[in-house]
Amino acid sequence: MKIMVAVKRVIDYAVKIRVKADKSGVETQNVKMSMNPFCEIALEEALRIKEAGLASEVVAVTMGPKQSIDTLRTGLAMGADRGIHVEATGDLFPLAVAKLFKALVEIEKPGLIILGKQAIDNDCNQTGQMVAGLLGWPQGTFASKVVLDKEKQEVMVDREVDGGLETLCLNLPAVITTDLRLNQPRYATLPNIMKAKSKPVKKYTPEELNVATNSDLEVVEVTEPPKRKAGVLVSSVDELIDKLKNEAHVI
C-alpha cells in the first residue's frame, strides 16, 4: 500500500512575524522557512506505518513555488521514498490544493493520505477535509492515535474533539489529518540527508494536472493585532465598576 503525505513549506514557528508595510501579507524575504510542524508529524506517522511493514512506500507531496523543493528534501531526509512537487506560484488556497491532490491521487492511487491538521501560516484546517470530500473517502481528522489493520483494510483513528477523544474506524482508502499528540517526529540524520539528494522528485504543474487554481477568495489586507494596552491600577471598587461600565462596556 502506498501512503501519500502532504508537506508544506511555512515560516518557521520560532521566527518573529512581521507584516509587510503595504499590508498585503507577511514578510517572507530573508525569513527562515521550515516544514509545517503538523506535516512533520504526518510524515513521521507514515514512516512508522511503513516501518511496521504495513505500507510499501511513502510519497511526500508539496505544492508551492520553486523553493518548496527544500521542504520535500527534508521529508526525503526523514525517510520518504519519493517526492512530488507541484510547482505553482501565487497563493494556493485549500480548495485548489485539494483539487491538485485529487488529480495526484488518480495518478498515484495511494491507500492512505496523511496530512497535518492545519498549516501554521494560514491556520485554515480545511485541506484534509476537502481532499476527503472530493475523493469521497472517509476522514479521521485531529488524529492522536492511528492503528492500521492491513488484513481488514481498516484504520482506527482516535480523534481529539472538544468533548474528549472519539474513536473512528475508517475503511481504506482514507484521509487522516494529524494533531500534535500523535507522535514525536524523528531527526534527519546526516547519512539520510546525503541519501535524500539522490531520491527521485517528480515535478508537475497545475496545468498538467488539469486543475484551475484561481480562487474565489482574495486577501484584502493583513494587519498586526492591536498592541496590548497597559493595564490600569484602580484605587477602589467603585472606580472598577465605573470603568467596567463606562469604558469597557461589559456591565
Binding site: 511496521a52 521542504t71 514525536q184
Partner: protein
Amino acid sequence: MNRLVSFRSKSRIGTTPCSSSFYARLLGSSIDASRTRSTANASDSLATVSRCSSLVPARTLTGSSLFGSRNGSSARLSNLTGHGGSQGVARRFCSDAAAERESMEYDVVIVGAGPAGLSAAIRLKQLCGEKGVDLSVCVVEKGAEVGAHIISGNVFEPRALDELLPEWEKEEAPISVSVSSDKFWFLTKDRAFSLPSPFDNKNNYVISLSQLVRWMGSKAEEYGVEIYPGFAASEILCDDNGSVIGIGTNDMGVAKNGSKKENFQRGVALKGRVTLFAEGCRGSLSEKIIKKYHLREKRNAQHQTYALGIKEVWEIDESKHQPGAVIHTLGWPLDQKTYGGSFLYHMSERQVAIGLVVALNYKNPYLSPYEEFQKLKHHPAIKPILEDGTVIQYGARTLNEGGIQSVPYPVFPGGAIIGCSAGFLNVPKIKGTHTAMKSGMLAAEAAFGTLLEGSNLDSYWTTLQNSWVWEELHKARNYRPAFDHGFIPGMAISAVEHYLFRGKSPFTLKHGKPDHEATNVARSHSPIEYPKPDGVLSFDVPTSLHRSNTNHDHDQPAHLKLRDPEMPTQVNLPEYDGPESRYCPARVYEYVPEESGQLKLQINAQNCLHCKACDIKDPKQNIEWTVPEGGGGPGYSVM
C-alpha cells in the same frame, strides 16, 4: 540563493516542531503526556534508524594512506569498536569513535560555516579544480541554516573576497551599499562632538554579514562542498597518537535528565584527514584544542581579550535613511574606565544597524552592557534617527580584541584553527571578516599541500605571517592595549601610534589582566540604576530576545555547565552580586528565590544566543559553554 537557504533548514527538523517547547506553547501543558506513548511502531522505527546504513564507504583518495603523507609514518586509527588503549589524558580530551556511532569520512572537515570556514572550503575546491584533483570537503554548522548564527557590524573590506571570488559583484553577492560617509563622535550625556575619523572606509561596503555568508554558502555548494547545518560538533576525535582525526556531532533527542527520548539519534563521527576549526570567537572546541596542545605557550602568546557586541537592525523612516552612512562613537554611555563604543551603519532598504561594543575587562560587576545599549539609543544625536522606526532583529556576540599578541599557534596535529577562533580581528579598524576569510584561504592552501604533496601543515603559520593579515595586525597591535591604562592615555598613545609611528613603533604593549580577573568585587561599587525601557526606543530583554528568533528544544540537558555547581551561590552572588545576571544579553542567568528564601542560580538555557560572554567573563571561570543540540540558537538573517 533563497532556495539554498531554505534547503539547509531541512536538517533542522525534529528540533523545532516536535520539541516539547512547541508542544507546551500550543497546549500549555506538560510534554509528558505526549511522550508516554511509546508504541511498538516507535521502537521499531528507532531500531531501524540506528541500524540503517552502517559505515558509509570511506572516501580516501586512492593511493594515499591516511596521515601517511603528513608525518611520514602511518598513525593507526583507533578502531571503531571504541577500543582506544590511549593515555588517560587523550581519552579525557578526545573521545574514541564510539561503538554504535556511524562514521563518515572526508578529506577535510570544517567546523563552522562562517566567513573563515566557507572561505577555506571554497579555496580547497578551487585548488582542486586548478590541479585537476578532487577532495571531499564537509562543513558542519550548529545553526539551523548557514548564516543563522552570523552577526557582525558590518563595514566590509572586500580585500579577501576580491582574492577568493573576484566576480562577486557579477554573481550578485549581497554587497551593494558603498560607504558614503564616515563620522566619528565623542558623546557626552547630551551632546555629540565630531572628531576626525580614524578610519579609512573609502572602498568598503555596509553589509549584513549573515546575508553575505548565506551567499558564500550557496557558492560553496556550487563548488561541491557539502554543508550540513543543524549539526553541532561537540567532540573532538583523536587517534592513539593524540592527533585529531575529526569531530563527533551531538546526540539528538536527549532529555533534560539525560535519558534518551523517543526520537533519540546518536551523533555522527565526521572524520577528516585534516580538520579545520572555524567556530568564531571563543569557539568551544577550539578552546579545548588550544589548551590541549598548548598553542598559546607555543608562541608565547598572551591570553585573548574580548568585547561583547550587542546589536539591533532597525527599519527607519525613509527621510532619515542615508545608505552607506557610517557613524562610530566613543564616550557616553561608557565611563572612562570602560573601553568600548557604538556603531550605526545605514544599510540598504531603509535598514540601519546599531550596536554597542563593550570590552569585557570592565571592572564594575554592576555594569550591564545590554542596559548601556538601551541608554545609548536615547542619546539626542541617535534618537532622531531611530524614532518612528521598528526593530527587525536583535542579537549579541563576543568578539576578539587581543590582536597579534593573543593569536595562538594555529596548527596542531591533525588540523588548524582559522578565523576568529584564533583571533585575527583588527581592533582599531574594527574589522575581522576580511582577515578571517584570508586565514581560511591560507589554511586551505596549506591543507591542500599536506593532502596532495605531503607538505607540513605548519606552512599555514608561515604563510600567515608573510601575508597582509599579519602586516595589518602588526600595525594595529598597540591601540587596544593602550586603553588598559585609561581613556586619556589610550587616546594619547593611539594618536602617537597613528600619526607619529604609523604602525612602526618599536614596542609592543601587553594586555592587562584576563577579562574574568578584571571584575572587582561588588562591595567596591554600587548598583547602577538603569532607566526603564520605554518600549519605543529601548526594550526589556525578553522583547529583544524574541527578535533574535532564538529557540532551543527545551527538553535537553542544559548546555551551560557549571564546573562547581555551588560556586554561584558561594562566590558569584556574595562576592560579585551575580554579574552573569547582568552581562548575559539573553537573560539566561537569573537568581531566583527558592522556597526557603535563599537565592539560587536558574539557568534558562533555552534563551542562549551563543555569544560566549559567560564563558569569558565568569569571575572564577566556572561557567563552561558547550554546544547544545544542533539547529538551536538564534536565527539571524539580516545581522
